[in-house]
Amino acid sequence: MNSKSGEKLISVYWFTILILVAGGIVAMVYVFYGVQYDVREIEGSIMINQISDCISRKGVLNEDIFEKSYQDNFLKNCHLNFNVEDENNWKENLQYYFEIKIFEINDLVNPKVDFNHGSLNLVSSCEIASEDYEKLAKCVEGKFYSIGKNNEQYLIKILSIIRKSEKNVKS
């Protein structure tokens, strides 16, 4: 092999390596930035934690929860707001929903308290929750036990649903 053809071969080799490295960098960037941060599950859990603090403190139930007026003004009483950015038509379609059910220990079928706030349309997403349907709303459920002022036993179930798919799932 003469020196001229050898040099040509080396430059082809370096060109191939350059493409390989550049392709690798593109692949890495695509893999990392191609996936969006999905914070809906954690957002749902934060909402459950906030709601649970309004219902029970140090294991004792806040008995105001049995009053209709407290339930109706729950968002205000619990310092929650459902305001969202004015994007993707979110202002018109609520992106949040929660449901609270409080059962007495002797009757775990019919709740003593049952109320909700937010968009009821999101509830259907929970029934078909699967990894194949990431664009649907995320549902998170929390359950805990609390006692009343007179030592009655209550079981509390909170369901929280967050949609906001446009910002959490890659379209």
């Binding site: 092999m1 390989l20 690798g24 999905d38 954690i42 934690n49 029970s56 294991g59 998170v140 079981l155």
Partner: protein
Amino acid sequence: MLNHRRGQIAETVTWRVATMIIVITLIVFIFISVQMSDAKNITPSNLVVKAGNFFKSDGVGEIDRLEIKTKFAFSLNDKNKEKINEWINEK
């Protein structure tokens, strides 16, 4: 002539080793990127707190907020404990 050939062989071997190192390094970095992108799905397990002696007998491990509330309630009234735990753990 023989020396010239030896030189060519050595150069080719160096190329091959260098190419392999570059390819392996790229594969490792792509694998790390995939692992890092999987970590973008933030789950409620990020919300747990370190358990103290009150919540876990050995004080080791993590516990979530609702579990803390349940433990507090059990410390005040632990009747039907089994039934309650069963209901809470029910999917």
